[in-house]
């Protein structure tokens, strides 16, 4: 075999001679990864999510050095970290702040995808891996939240695990199996610790690798939704693409610096963030005999929690109407008689279920569905163009209505139950699901603007 002659000199050459993979991957993912040059501020959040992940992993490693996953010691060990471990408060506040910022950047990252159609062909897998990452992140946050063993940790976990009890037949046994005890206890704390520090992070890192690899295979979308690979220069490089490194590395470092200012402002000056990042009740040690009057999950779960709470006996009629309307729409628009028959049967089964099973069960189903509904988005969206820029103006406003519903649901999820909150959450739930369920129809409607051949770019 002929000896490989490296084109690199110095350290890079030394490595390339011995491990050509290293330099090949460097080229593939950084120096010769051509990204569209018209990225705007919405494109910084993927990189920021990776940064927050790094912060969470590094601070997590240090926290585990002093944390005790033991129901009798956990609460005090967290305070021990905050008081007696040198720099411990810094590590812990970074970790608790990082958890909330993870969701902030991921929600903005997903919103970007929604706005510019980044999930459309050929990026369906990128999107699905992303949705799975989001699921893992929710699991990671949920398991991690039990660890400080405060009142909210305890009762939040109790409420969520009890939800599995609403599943017919297997529910009660399933929730005991998850807890490892009849109530949240030491066994639960130990297994949640294990999930939080090893099981979920392993899956998470694997999924992130898949997300990035899939993205780099097909290339990034951009605010215009134009495929830059369709216009190449004579050497085969996209005309509107620029190497990720150095252009986007310097660009992302600049935005990272701004992000870190916000992040560290919270860490140093408002680590509780007014009770939203660290809930006040969680400074009371867990007490199985004392249920707090108002149990609210941390803010990033509250939109989904609101959907759960909105699903009352009363709401079952709304749900039934929605299901009937949906199946009527399907029967009227789908030609295939087999599909029509299946829809009719499915609707009957659902209607029967709505009024025989506990509404709480349907609340759990809707809450699960509200997270999973992101996955089929590439197929729900039937619009002829990707980016909101070239879609009818009202498509954009429809999306904003959905975002408002999401935020309002989130707000009422933090509040104690009230009639006003109840009805608003019901309306929010209807908007939330109608947006996705009717998307195959509304996304084709309206007048679309012509999509340019090349990206729109104004030199800086």
């Amino acid at each position: 075999m002929a000896e490989y002659k490296t084109p690199y000199t110095g350290i890079a050459g030394w490595f390339d001679q011995r491990m050509p993979t290293a330099m090949a991957e460097y080229r593939k993912h950084l120096s010769e990864y051509y990204a569209p040059k018209n990225f705007n501020i919405w494109y910084i959040f993927g990189g920021l999510a990776i940064t927050v992940l790094a912060i969470q992993i590094v601070t997590g490693i240090f926290l585990v050095m002093n944390y005790k996953p033991d129901a009798a010691l956990a609460f005090a060990s967290v305070e021990y970290i905050m008081r007696d471990v040198p720099g411990g408060w810094f590590i812990r506040y970074m970790h608790s702040t990082g958890a909330s910022f993870f969701f902030i950047v991921v929600y903005l990252h997903m919103f970007r995808g929604l706005m510019y159609g980044s999930y459309r062909t050929p990026r369906e897998l990128v999107w699905i891996f992303g949705c799975l990452i989001f699921l893992c992140l929710m699991g990671e946050a949920f398991f991690g939240y039990l660890l400080p063993w405060g009142q909210m940790s305890y009762w939040g976990a109790q409420v969520i695990v009890n939800l599995f009890g609403a599943i017919p037949l297997i529910g009660p046994d399933l929730s005991i199996w998850i807890r490892g005890d009849y109530v949240i206890g030491d066994a639960t704390l130990n297994r949640f610790f294990s999930f939080h520090v090893i099981a979920i992070p392993l899956v998470l890192i694997g999924l992130i690798a898949a997300h990035v690899l899939a993205l780099h295979d097909v290339g990034s979308n951009n605010p215009d939704g134009v495929e830059i690979k369709k216009k190449l220069d004579p050497s085969g490089r996209p005309l509107d693409g620029i190497p990720f490194h150095p252009y986007y590395t310097v660009h992302d470092i600049f935005w990272l610096a701004i992000f870190l200012m916000v992040f560290f402002f919270v860490v140093f000056f408002a680590p509780e963030m007014g009770g939203y990042f660290l809930e006040w009740n969680n400074f009371i040690p867990a007490d199985p005999l004392q249920t707090p009057p108002h149990i609210a999950p941390v803010w990033y779960f509250t939109p989904f929690y609101s959907i759960l709470r909105a699903t009352t006996e009363q709401f079952m009629y709304v749900l039934a109407l929605g299901t009937i309307g949906m199946s009527a729409l399907l029967v009227l628009t789908v030609r295939n008689s087999l599909v029509r028959g299946a829809v009719a049967v499915g609707t009957l089964v659902l209607l029967l279920g709505y009024f025989t099973l506990d509404p709480k069960f349907w609340g759990v189903v809707l809450m699960g569905l509200s997270v999973l509904i992101f996955i089929p988005l590439p197929w729900l969206d039937q619009s002829p163009v990707k980016s909101m820029r070239y879609r009818p103006g009202w498509h954009f406003w429809l999306m904003i209505v959905w975002v408002v519903a999401f935020v309002v649901l989130g707000y009422f999820g933090t509040q104690p139950p009230s009639p006003a909150g109840q009805y608003t959450s019901m309306l929010g739930t209807v908007i939330y699901f109608a947006f996705f369920a009717l998307m195959p129809w509304w996304s084709r409607m309206g007048t679309f603007k012509p999509v340019p051949d090349r990206v729109t770019f104004h030199p800086h």
Binding site: R83, A257, F264, V267, F269, W280, H460
Partner: protein, 285 residues
């Protein structure tokens, strides 16, 4: 009305508190704790002295080590001489002799550890420091309760007024306004109940029917026998709350001062990153 319910554990007490809160009709006005006390070492040390002498009979601060009080300007020798009773070492946590099981047997409920109490009592409505400042100054004599004490911020409180000697005798006037809706006519009428508790805890109640529309509410006022002593007491409680707030989050002062430098560094770094970015992107047409 949320706060009392959080503290009462068992269902029975929960019901009592709910009834009490319902009777009061509205939330107790929470007074502002003078937060400048947190910056004064003298106040913090005075607070530590009151805490050790009056609170630590029943309440521990197990998450705080004695030598943490170096941060409020005390030396190990001073901590040992003036604050530690018994044979604890300066590196020990601020423990008490009474065990939680004993406390439960004697009082029906274990007095909570106060290490993180001002944080734990914070809510979206007010900071925990304000709540405790109001609570500790909200006691009045009431012969109708088991301890002979009642509290405007926490009706039927189980904790007696341990600081009563420092506060001195006083008379309390509680004014409650509640509405009553006639289920048949739908007519709403308001009644104002004024309860005056004298220094011995004997209550005189007067009810007046209010003419015209009113809002439900609760207000109170105190008439101390010795105004000078009452003012001194308020100041001592403010110091005590400053101390409780300090032990809740001892890193907060250094956190803020380091934070300023971190943000300054990041601001400088942002400028450099911004210019670097501009230099590279100059080529992109």
């Amino acid at each position: 009305m949320k706060k009392p319910i959080i503290r009462l554990g068992v269902a029975f007490m929960l019901a009592v508190a709910a009834a009490g809160a319902a009777a009061s009709g509205a939330e107790t006005p929470i007074e502002r704790w003078p937060s400048d006390r947190a910056k004064s070492l003298g106040s913090l040390q005075n607070g530590a002295r009151i805490f050790v002498n009056y609170c630590m009979g029943c309440h521990s601060a197990n998450l705080v080590r004695w030598n943490r009080l170096q941060q409020i300007g005390l030396s190990d020798a001073q901590i040992k001489e003036f604050l530690i009773f018994g044979n604890q070492k300066v590196g020990d946590p601020m423990r008490i002799a009474m065990t939680p099981a004993e406390a439960k047997r004697w009082f029906g409920k274990t007095p909570p550890d106060l290490s993180v109490i001002t944080r734990a009592r914070t809510s979206f409505e007010y900071p925990g420091t304000d709540y405790i400042y109001t609570l500790l100054r909200g006691y009045y004599r009431d012969n109708g309760t088991a301890t002979g004490w009642n509290n405007i911020a926490y009706p039927s409180i189980g904790m007696p007024h341990t600081l009563w000697e420092r506060q001195g005798a006083r008379e309390a006037t509680l004014v409650q306004t509640h509405g009553h809706k006639d289920p048949k006519t739908g007519h709403e009428s308001f009644v104002q109940v004024t309860s005056v508790y004298d220094a011995q805890g004997n209550v005189t109640r007067t009810e007046t029917e209010l003419k015209g529309p009113a809002t439900e509410g609760f207000s109170y006022s105190f008439k101390p026998a010795d105004a000078q002593q009452a003012r001194q007491f308020d100041s001592d409680v403010a110091d005590l709350v400053a101390f409780l707030s300090f032990i809740t989050d001892p890193s907060s002062a250094s956190r803020r001062s380091i934070g300023v430098w971190v943000l300054l560094f990041l601001a400088l770094f942002t400028v450099i990153a911004w210019r670097l970015n501009a230099i590279y992107w100059k080529d992109i047409k």
